[in-house]
Symmetry: D2
Subunit: 403 residues, 4 copies
Amino acid sequence: MQKIINDPVYGFIQIKDKEILDLISHPWVQRLRRIKQMGIAHYVYPGAVHTRFHHSLGATHLMRTAIDNLHLKGIAISPEEALGVQQAILLHDVGHGPFSHALEHTIVSGISHEDISRILMQRINADTGGSLETAIAIFEQSYSKRFLHQLVSSQLDMDRMDYLNRDSFYTGVSEGVIGYDRILQMLTVVDDHLSVEAKGIHSVEKFIIARRMMYWQVYLHKTVLGVEQLIVNILSRAKELALKGAELFASPAFRFFLYEQVHKADFENDEAIIRKFCTLDDSDISCSVKVWADHPDKVLSLLCNMILNRKLYKVMMSSDRLDGQFEEMEKTYAYPAGIGEEEKHYFLFRGSTTNKTYNQYDDLITIKMKDGSLKNITEVDNALINPYVTLPVKKYYIIRAVL
Amino acid sequence: MQKIINDPVYGFIQIKDKEILDLISHPWVQRLRRIKQMGIAHYVYPGAVHTRFHHSLGATHLMRTAIDNLHLKGIAISPEEALGVQQAILLHDVGHGPFSHALEHTIVSGISHEDISRILMQRINADTGGSLETAIAIFEQSYSKRFLHQLVSSQLDMDRMDYLNRDSFYTGVSEGVIGYDRILQMLTVVDDHLSVEAKGIHSVEKFIIARRMMYWQVYLHKTVLGVEQLIVNILSRAKELALKGAELFASPAFRFFLYEQVHKADFENDEAIIRKFCTLDDSDISCSVKVWADHPDKVLSLLCNMILNRKLYKVMMSSDRLDGQFEEMEKTYAYPAGIGEEEKHYFLFRGSTTNKTYNQYDDLITIKMKDGSLKNITEVDNALINPYVTLPVKKYYIIRAVL
Amino acid sequence: MQKIINDPVYGFIQIKDKEILDLISHPWVQRLRRIKQMGIAHYVYPGAVHTRFHHSLGATHLMRTAIDNLHLKGIAISPEEALGVQQAILLHDVGHGPFSHALEHTIVSGISHEDISRILMQRINADTGGSLETAIAIFEQSYSKRFLHQLVSSQLDMDRMDYLNRDSFYTGVSEGVIGYDRILQMLTVVDDHLSVEAKGIHSVEKFIIARRMMYWQVYLHKTVLGVEQLIVNILSRAKELALKGAELFASPAFRFFLYEQVHKADFENDEAIIRKFCTLDDSDISCSVKVWADHPDKVLSLLCNMILNRKLYKVMMSSDRLDGQFEEMEKTYAYPAGIGEEEKHYFLFRGSTTNKTYNQYDDLITIKMKDGSLKNITEVDNALINPYVTLPVKKYYIIRAVL
Amino acid sequence: MQKIINDPVYGFIQIKDKEILDLISHPWVQRLRRIKQMGIAHYVYPGAVHTRFHHSLGATHLMRTAIDNLHLKGIAISPEEALGVQQAILLHDVGHGPFSHALEHTIVSGISHEDISRILMQRINADTGGSLETAIAIFEQSYSKRFLHQLVSSQLDMDRMDYLNRDSFYTGVSEGVIGYDRILQMLTVVDDHLSVEAKGIHSVEKFIIARRMMYWQVYLHKTVLGVEQLIVNILSRAKELALKGAELFASPAFRFFLYEQVHKADFENDEAIIRKFCTLDDSDISCSVKVWADHPDKVLSLLCNMILNRKLYKVMMSSDRLDGQFEEMEKTYAYPAGIGEEEKHYFLFRGSTTNKTYNQYDDLITIKMKDGSLKNITEVDNALINPYVTLPVKKYYIIRAVL
């Protein structure tokens, strides 16, 4: 029953459980093949076109390895738990839509991808006679062994570990490379808390630093931020036009979400809506953007042409508020001809973003010292990860189109 | 003016020439961002989602390195030639459509992607006051220095070198890894013929072997072959239905090619057709396939559901003709209910495919021996690459849907 | 009890068994830290300074992985067998002396390193109350399950797999890189014969090709051959002088083997000789060579200065007998002043060497086809590894000092 | 004239200048082939057996690349300067003896390896009619362009860059991997000061972090510290015995340094001493240690047996002074029988070590901001490298033999 899947990141991914293979075959998991993990960031890092499907497989592979290692160290994990925690990580992202962050703020608002993941898991569970009971309990943090949830979602979970590995690999940003195999070797559980043996402390330090570096070099790279805002603005404008009754080319499912106002309760109660959502992927958006490039609405067509021809927003970023600069810029900025007052914000706007590499208040990474005691990693003698490094960082930005 | 682009395959790609940067910004080159290099092969190798855009940048990078190395060895290459040969390789694939091989046999027949590349190059050349004169001459093999064309298209060209590197990297099939940096170091020119110094012979051997291995493990992998045939059949059926007047969801450009019969001459004469073709990308096909999964035509909807839910064709492959097995299978195969006689071939069919790793008759790879003489690589003393290895290999297959 | 050892080739080597850890601590195994795996080849490949100790650990690591994989597939392997086969591979090279091939032809003649390995294993076994009974039986091919011996010594054993990986890695010759993890995944046993599943055939092909490439690029590289002959000639001359009673600087143990004629029977019967042999390592030879550079014997001092200052032999190599060239060269070669007739062969000489990448007659690599049958890899349909490739290759050489 | 040398770290090292090739052939540079870069650390990291020779080649390769990049950016560097700075880096370590740090504290005291490098450079310069004038001026910081010296010796010099790369590679400690190619791309010179463009800041941060991690994981690893102290103690004891007139096996050159007290002035004035020093390498020490294992002096033989059989010192390390623990341990420690009072310190002793990852007071790494201004890296907005990280760290240790 075993299946071996090629993965350039880990060499091979072995799937040994029939239950996991069946779940991978589910159309809702297969759908993740058509959704890029990093959305539109490939406009800056052209190699970063990997999919949420591959990330889900990778995280499941790391989970299997982690579970095997913990088992060898004598941590009690039953076969049901081992299966459940793998199912949970395999499905943790199943509720993502295309260009997820953009979509959540525009077309499908009021419900997060985590909510949708949970709804989808419950529906699969119902359809399969309860095959995901343990997985759902672990995912929702209601399962008795807390460390299983931490493997799925915490500062040191298999999700982060895979996405750092994978995003580094595909972007080619070597600063994000982590020694994941050593961390997995050093995982342990103390008092139902996921922890790392003292010998692994440097690998954990590097993991935290690598994550921070990926934030500044990739996830919050100013051009990446700009291109994501471009998608947000395209979808916002399209929704605005749709609600006014304008005609917009779209696939049937995408059309539904463009023209209807759907709420969280609808997702939970109306199976048809879930099924429609689960046909959406990157191609619906990409295909419409190309057609909209010729739309009579000037704002929409300008924005769509920007993305098609890679005439991206210019982004100014700073740790200081940019109030003065923004006011100055508003005075001199040459808006496209024929743009109304209430449409100006599509071409020149500002905002802020915050990054917390390592949240020092909850769910801390703990180190199991040689004497068996636990220490928060920031308290370890001579730690590289000190309170200074873990402070959240806020950045302000001004974005403008250069037409 | 220099730009550095991250590339996980080579670390970095440096672009130094303004002319090359301008060409990369052209919408027709940008379009390649939305076309996967390996089409639908990611159904078997989930990492293989890299784009034709990245391949074109990579090949241009190798070309720049090759030219620099040859220049250091005293081979005369003028700045115009250095630019032209880079433009030629950057644009060599610009005429590819989405799922190119499938498209060429169905929707856009009678014209090859090479033809379209040539037409697009000529049009850009006309639009820019002749900026591509040298590039086109090199591409079309009419330029006086033959070795420049060989760098673009021959047994050892920068196209192959990049796609082997890149496809190996993204599939995770290490058998395709080549020592490209050593080959580039060892390139030389003798009597206007691209050649390799004797010290590089083992790297060239490995290159040929790697290419052969990629054919058997990836390009002609039977499941990859099956999924490509599935796309071919979906597009064939859609075209068949369109010509009968059935209604099919499609973006405007895709609709045009579905409902019209376009010939090579139309491409050459009608600029509007070229412009329509240049808006096509993977998303047009993917988006339609999802909608067609609910199409009233049973053949079309069955095939589309197969690909969406990864219920792929089963493929039997052999060096022997499979006549007996096919007749046997025809007798027992359970066709879907309601399928007409002339539709049966969508569910059970056969064919053959041929691979030539190394064509021993034309454009041979030559080695510059220590005494200065040239030898075909198959004639070098104790060569690994012998006539036996270079024989073309024909394989027969039977493909069937398992519904 | 588990120990994790860093290994740049595999990331980590995990040792789980106390018995293996104890064996690694044995002074005779520790001695391998001081013997370079590739002898003097680092004069050509400066990175190739890895030790026989690391190779032995690496091969043991691969063995553990292979055993675990076979076990998962249901191949019966008892804990004693699993331990024994690891002990056998860990000790398979324990009988190597410094610059082994040179030493065996000069100072310590008449006994091979395999013989010495066997003698050392028997002595450790006697000292430890029979801890190596199973290991010795497997090593000597007297154990009932033949495939266990094949894992230690055959065309596809863990020895070759590690040394190809390791020698490639440290020389930087990428042509030797193999997909060892995939081969290990695909190993199986049929009728007590080690075999490879059909899906692994391309990885095995690559393994055979890689081995062949390492032979031509590294192991039989003409400068490597020359530097090895230089060591042979230095040791021959030193032995010649010692037997004539000349005084030569040497450590006590090295002095013993220089001045005494030791035979195979002595090794087997005289424990003191074994103990002396087991204190020899690279430093004894290197240290003497430096002192001998000032020795009054002109031949010895010239040869030692050649190696110290890297004035290496010039080597001419060919598939043809070089009789004519050699006679010609003898006439014109300028021997150093004062060199006697019977000493000329230290400065100009000839010989031949044979490489068999893959021996087609015994211990063939077998492939388990999908129908369960076994086929020799050269008989598999469309095999890359054909009789032509597996023919032994003989090369003739002429070597001369350039003083 | 160009030579290509395989290097697993960089793929290839190209040497283009005849002057550099000649210098590599010098016996004093060739001698570095026989001195391991990391001394005895391979007892903990068995892969770390690379040589100072390879490191010197690697650093020269990085220097060539750095110089080429700076040249492309319009920084004025004459051919003589380009050659001189490469010669300087090639020879920067030529004065290292075997197990350098141990040797400097015992056998050859009162003179540092930098001093000896300088003396050797001057002597080669004198022998070759002044071929190293520029190199020596750069090395000694008397050359007019200060940034050339910074490339040889500063916080961001080619020495550190190569040894981090190389030590990471050979130990297998991935935490030390740096993006050296990106740093080299981003190097620039502002006001005669070596600097890094703002776009390279994250790579520099990673470089500093990687260096810190290598210190804690490798260079100051407690077992590595212990094994280095073991060598120090063996050499101290041998010197002690030699000065008392005891007989000790040693090669002639090593014997000279064991039995004579040599001072810095002797090195500078007596060419014979320099020539003797330049025949020393790892094999002299290793060979003697094996013979000394049977020496009648109990301290010496015990220590030598410890290293031969890898019965290493146990090391306790802490940020706190360990006064209490040491006094406690002195009371209970079981010294070997027959050890005199004044010999006890060979078996139980203590000390401290200090690491400064990044010295914040002199020779700071400066970043060239986008507005052209220079900033110290610790002052850059939101820097990872803050004063907290750059504080020197002192560690106390207790070391004891476990016999």
